[in-house]
Every structure is written in structure tokens, then in C-alpha cells.
């Protein structure tokens, strides 16, 4: 495959044009030069209209299939700690992982705005490939569309994922029980603030790195010490507050959080203070919320802290019988307040 420049470095000149999505030779070239070499696996290389997966192979991992899809439209495309490609893999892998599934296969649909630099596209595709390799999943089928300028913003990605849930694992938002402990795997709000700062709309200078990371390894470590994890979600848009409200509603229980136990990185806390944001509602891309039986809480916490993506894990609250459907925060000051679901976007206060 002729894709290397004189110094052995991949070289991609020019921009993506509508012809690259036209189904003809330009598109074929784009696929052969950029996409196939990056994803490099036999299922994709067959270039059929679909990937075929052996059922027997799936059955070796468990007894239920987990299937999910998500679209990624983040701006800017590249931010501290990640980029849209990495995000597109982590997001879908994490949606699978929080069911307890082992993530196996991804699809990848690219919607490209004409005029995108070919080199940038190659970089994002390489980022998808690298993250997928690190997460142990294969991109086995895909699609590429090019749209007119203005019809998309540089690059949108959709990934769907398939994973297999081991027998005996039964995680659901409706299984929280009074007495259970609530655990998070580290500092909240890093992704939300990193993106806000990367947009350069604020005259704030601070180093915040997105937490964008795959979590299936952490979940495996947690399941190894407690197969009976009751609830598990990754706290993306809407943050931990939204996830906990979903748990409280589905399980018909109350959830009591302790503000002083919630890990928030000092810079994020400072930015929230200035902008009037609440870290409980900020987006994360590598943080999960677990509800586990009290008897196993310490073991799960220890297992999480021993894992690189959970070293700052903390027990942040517990499940109560009353008030059903409500999340309540005991404030650091000694008072308490309701942590409700968010209305619209979290907009900064003006004074």
C-alpha cells in the first residue's frame, strides 16, 4: 500500500472533497489509504457490506449481548487529554463496560465536512485505531459520508459497539437498595471544564486535562471482587447528579451524598467557582458511578484504587429508603440541599 512518504511517515495532503464521499475511486482511495491501514483487521479488510462474527466466539465470553450506539460532535476536535477520535471509542466502550460487558467490536461512521484537512482526518482515524487497540476492541465495520461545507462541523463520528455480558452479572439502574454505598472512580468535571477552557472563549488560563479514558478494565477489576454490583453508569453529559437521579428514580430510593467526600480537582473547583458551575453536573468521559452492597464497598474501593483509572476512587454517599426518588447533598457547611436534575444547559450566572 503506497501510503508512506519519503521518510516513512504517513503523508496525507490536501482536503476532503465531496468526491471522497461519492462512492467512486476517490472514496476507495480514502478508505484504502487512511482507514484500512489504521484499523487493520481481517473482519474489516474483507470490505463486505457487513462484518460477520461467529456466535460461538461471542458465547465464549458470556450469555448476553450488550449493544449500544453514540454520536460524537465535540468542538474543538482536539482538546487537552484527547480528541474526537479517542472520545468516540471511549464513550461507546464505556457504555458497554458499565453493563459489565466485555467490549468486543465497534462500528465507525464518519460524517466529514468538505474542506477538512486530509492530515487531520488521518490523525483522528489513527486516534480511533490507537484507542481501540488499547481497549482491546476491533473496528469491524464502518461508513464514510462527506457533506457540504456548513452541513457538519469538520467531523462527526458515530460508533456502535457490541460486547458480551458474563453470566451472573446483573447491573441495572433499578437495583439500588437502602444501605448500599455510592462510589466514584475519581475527580469530577475534568472533561467539562477542559472543553470549556479549550474553546478559548473565557479569559481563564488553567491546565485541565480531560479524563477521557476507557473504563472496561476498571469494571472487570470491580466485578472480580464483587459480582453483585447493583448499579453502574458512566457519568457523561449531565454529570454524576443526573446519573444518581436516574438511580434514585428507577430504584425508588433516596441517595444521600456527602459533599466533603466528593473528589474534585482544585483547578476544576476554581473554574466552577468563577463561572458559577456545579461539578456534580459537569460532563466526564472517564468516570463511573457505582452502587454496591455495603458489605462489599471496601473491597470494591480497594480494587478500584489499585487500578490506574480508579486510584482516586472514593465513597461519596449511600442509599437511603427515604425520600424515594430524591438525591440529597449534605453540604460541607453542615446543611443539606436537594440535587435535582438539570434544566437545559448549565449556563454561567451573571453576577
Amino acid at each position: 500500500m503506497k501510503m508512506n512518504g519519503p521518510h516513512g511517515k504517513p503523508k496525507h495532503n490536501g482536503v476532503v472533497t465531496l468526491a471522497h464521499g461519492g462512492g467512486g475511486s476517490a472514496m476507495r482511495k480514502l478508505i484504502e489509504n487512511i482507514i484500512l491501514p489504521a484499523f487493520d483487521n481481517p473482519l474489516l479488510a474483507a470490505l463486505e457490506d457487513q462484518a460477520t462474527v461467529s456466535l460461538a466466539e461471542l458465547l465464549a465470553h458470556g450469555d448476553r449481548l450488550a449493544f449500544t450506539t453514540d454520536s460524537y460532535v465535540v468542538t474543538p476536535m482536539i482538546f487537552p487529554g484527547g480528541d474526537i477520535g479517542k472520545l468516540a471509542v471511549c464513550g461507546t466502550v464505556n457504555d458497554l463496560a458499565v453493563s459489565g460487558a466485555r467490549p468486543l467490536y465497534l462500528s465507525c461512521g464518519l460524517i466529514i465536512e468538505e474542506g477538512l484537512q486530509m492530515a487531520q482526518l488521518a490523525m483522528m482515524v489513527e486516534s480511533i485505531a490507537q484507542t481501540a487497540r488499547a481497549a482491546g476492541v476491533s473496528v469491524v465495520t464502518g461508513d464514510t459520508k462527506v457533506v457540504e461545507r456548513g452541513a457538519a462541523d469538520k467531523l462527526f463520528i458515530n460508533t456502535a459497539g457490541i460486547g458480551v455480558i458474563p453470566a451472573g452479572v446483573n447491573i441495572s439502574a433499578s437495583r439500588a437498595q437502602p444501605g448500599d454505598k455510592v462510589i466514584v472512580n475519581g475527580s469530577l468535571g475534568d472533561h467539562g471544564v477542559a472543553i470549556l477552557l479549550a474553546r478559548n472563549e473565557l479569559a481563564l488560563e488553567a491546565e485541565v486535562v480531560s479524563d477521557c479514558q476507557p473504563l472496561h478494565g476498571l469494571v472487570t477489576a470491580m466485578l472480580a471482587v464483587c459480582q453483585d454490583i447493583h448499579c453502574l453508569r458512566d457519568a457523561t453529559r449531565g454529570g454524576v447528579a443526573t446519573v444518581l437521579n436516574e438511580f434514585a428514580t428507577s430504584s425508588k430510593v433516596g441517595i444521600r451524598l456527602t459533599e466533603t467526600a466528593i473528589p474534585v480537582n482544585e483547578t476544576v473547583r476554581g473554574a466552577c467557582e468563577i463561572l458559577g458551575l456545579d461539578p456534580l453536573y459537569l460532563a466526564n468521559e472517564g468516570k463511573l458511578v457505582a452502587v454496591v452492597p455495603a458489605s462489599h464497598a471496601d473491597a470494591v474501593l480497594a480494587a478500584m484504587r489499585a487500578h490506574p483509572t480508579g486510584h482516586a476512587a472514593a465513597i461519596v454517599g449511600e442509599v437511603t429508603a427515604e425520600p424515594a426518588g430524591r438525591v440529597i447533598l449534605s453540604t460541607a457547611l453542615g446543611g443539606y440541599r436537594v440535587v435535582d436534575v438539570l434544566v437545559g444547559e448549565q449556563l454561567p450566572r451573571i453576577c
Binding site: 444521600r256 456527602t258 467557582e273 474501593l301 454517599g317 449534605s330 451573571i350 453576577c351
Partner: protein, 382 residues
Amino acid sequence: MQYADEFRDPVKARTLVDEISKLATPLSKARGRPLQVMEVCGGHTHTIFRYGLKTLLPEDTLEFVHGPGCPVCVLPMGRVDDCIALARDPNIIFTTFGDAMRVPGSAGSLLQAKAEGADVRMVYSPLDALKIARENPMREVVFFALGFETTMPSTALTVLQARREGIRNFSLFCNHITIIPTIKAILDSPELTLDGFLGPGHVSMVIGNRPYDFIAERYQRPIVVAGFEPLDILQSLWMLLKQLQEGRCEVENQYKRIVPETGNAEALAAVAEVFELREFFEWRGLGSIDHSGIRMRAAFADYDAERKFTLPGLSIADPKSCQCGEVLKGVIKPHQCKVFGTSCTPERPLGALMVSSEGACAAYYRFGRIDIKPVALAPVTS
């Protein structure tokens, strides 16, 4: 953050709460009702709910009445309609603070207008709006100037900067309001039962403490200018109750680290150069209040969107079912309003106080909708 944390110390908070409770009991007994303290500023309302101060204080002897100090909340619908009319002009880039985007006019909000194609941009400071004007010389940039004396100096200075640079495509849609006539209107209300005020710290940073003298002298109510951290508010409450106990009516300043006795002369000079009082201005929930609105002086007509463009300028009545006025005066609590949480929610606000996170009703809805009984929890081990 270390600086802020010192003002959130739970042990000190406990001590203050105990002292406040001790003062409140005999004072409320003598009145045969709970003491009523109005926090004028929406920033205080936010702190009270966010840190759960209300849940720490004795509710049978002390009540907060949440005042009119949220400039987003008290904006009348007709003015929002004017904003939308400006934003729909294809030649105009309409710039605004984020909170104002959700405020409903008679036919939708700026957020909806933006979705329908209007060029509405969220900014964090009027200087950001001026920058947009500099970068788009072929288009008109209008900044939605909003707020009490806190934000007035920054808009005034931005206009002066625009004039210095000779930027001609920048103007203000001026909706600044001033706090003093509003407090006076509340004090003149016949239903009034307020025992004292927590004064707005940020406004006072600009205007100083003397403009409040009439509250103590003419209306015989104590006022303490307060900061925005939880311990600021608790200490101010304690100072206020101490005045009541000792039979004093004074203007006291708890926020000395920020608020100079006579305000900020430079800021006041910029405001006086650019702005003047309007005869009257309409408030959502309170109706028209004399000399409460601010407009641009004739010398700055070129920077005044109201003079530069044609606006509908219609006055639109508040919905009949809305009881914001009664909540603002402390006659009823937010949850006692007929439409609270039913036809008026933060998602579809009917009344002013449900609009911004600093509005009393939105705060009640978000943070305090139910009676929460303290639950004893085992200490968290992590």
C-alpha cells in the same frame, strides 16, 4: 480556593448558627411570629440554598424573604421581545450574558430565537462584545446591558472604550436598573412585615453604604451589607439580630474586605458620564417603579440601541396567575404560589422568579422543594 474555604468553615458556621438561634427566639416571641429578614441580592439567595443555610437555621423563629435582586428575573417581557426583535435583524449580532438567554418574552426566549436563525452570542463580559464588534466591522453588534450597579461600571467603561477607539458598530440595549428605588418601593408596601435587610455586597462595592441610610433613618429598619460566602451571610444575620436585640437601626458593613464606606469613585464617575435615570421603569412582578431604570445619556446616542434602531417597545402584562410580586414582598413563600411547580417550572418559567438560578422560586424548586429530614449517616470512610 484556600481563601474561599476559610469562609465555609463548618465549625464556625455551627457557632454562628447557635448564636443566631439564641437571639432569634426572644425576638420572634415578642413579635408573635418568626423574624423576617430580606436578602436583597439574588447572589445571597443562591448561597443560602446552595450551602443549605436555611436547613441549619431555626425555621420557626427566622424566615428569609428573597428580595428582588436578580436582574434577569425582574426583566419585563416587553424588553425581552425588544431583544428578540433586535436579534432577528440579519445585520445585528446580539450579544448577551448566558442567564438572559432563557428569559421568556411574550413569544419565546433568545435561546429560541437563536435556534430559529438569529445571531445571538453568549459573552462573559461587555468587552467580549466589543471585540466581536471590532472583528465584524460590517455588522452591528448590540450588547444586552443588564444588572444593578454591580455591572453598570463595566458596561460604562466598555462604551467609553468604544468611543476612544472610534468603533461605530457597537451599541448597548440598556436595561440596567438601580436598587435603591426598588427597596423603597418594597418598604412603602402596606403589607410589609420585614424586620431587616441583608444589603447587596457587590452593589455596595460600587455605591458604598451611605445610600442605605434612609432605610435605617426613615423606615427604622436595620440593614447589614453582606458578603456572599456562607459565613458572611451567617455573620451578617447575627449582626442584624444583634441590632434588633439592642433596639438599634443602623447601616452596618459586614463585607468590609470588599466594600469601601463611600464606594468606588472611579466606577461611579464612569457610570455618571454614560448613564442617567429614566423617569420610570417597569419591573416584572413589581410593576412600574419611578427612577429605577437607567438609560444612556444623549451624548452617547450613537451607542444606544434604543435610539439607533426601531424597537417594538410594547409593554406586556405579567400572566394573571403569576404571584411573583407577592413573593418578592415576602407576603407568600415561593411554594405557596398557585402555579409553583405546576404551570411554572424552570423549564417553562411563567414568572420572573423562576427564570434564573438566582431567582427565589428557581432556588426553591431546585434545592428545597421537599421537607428534608436530617438523616444520621455513618461517617464516610474514604
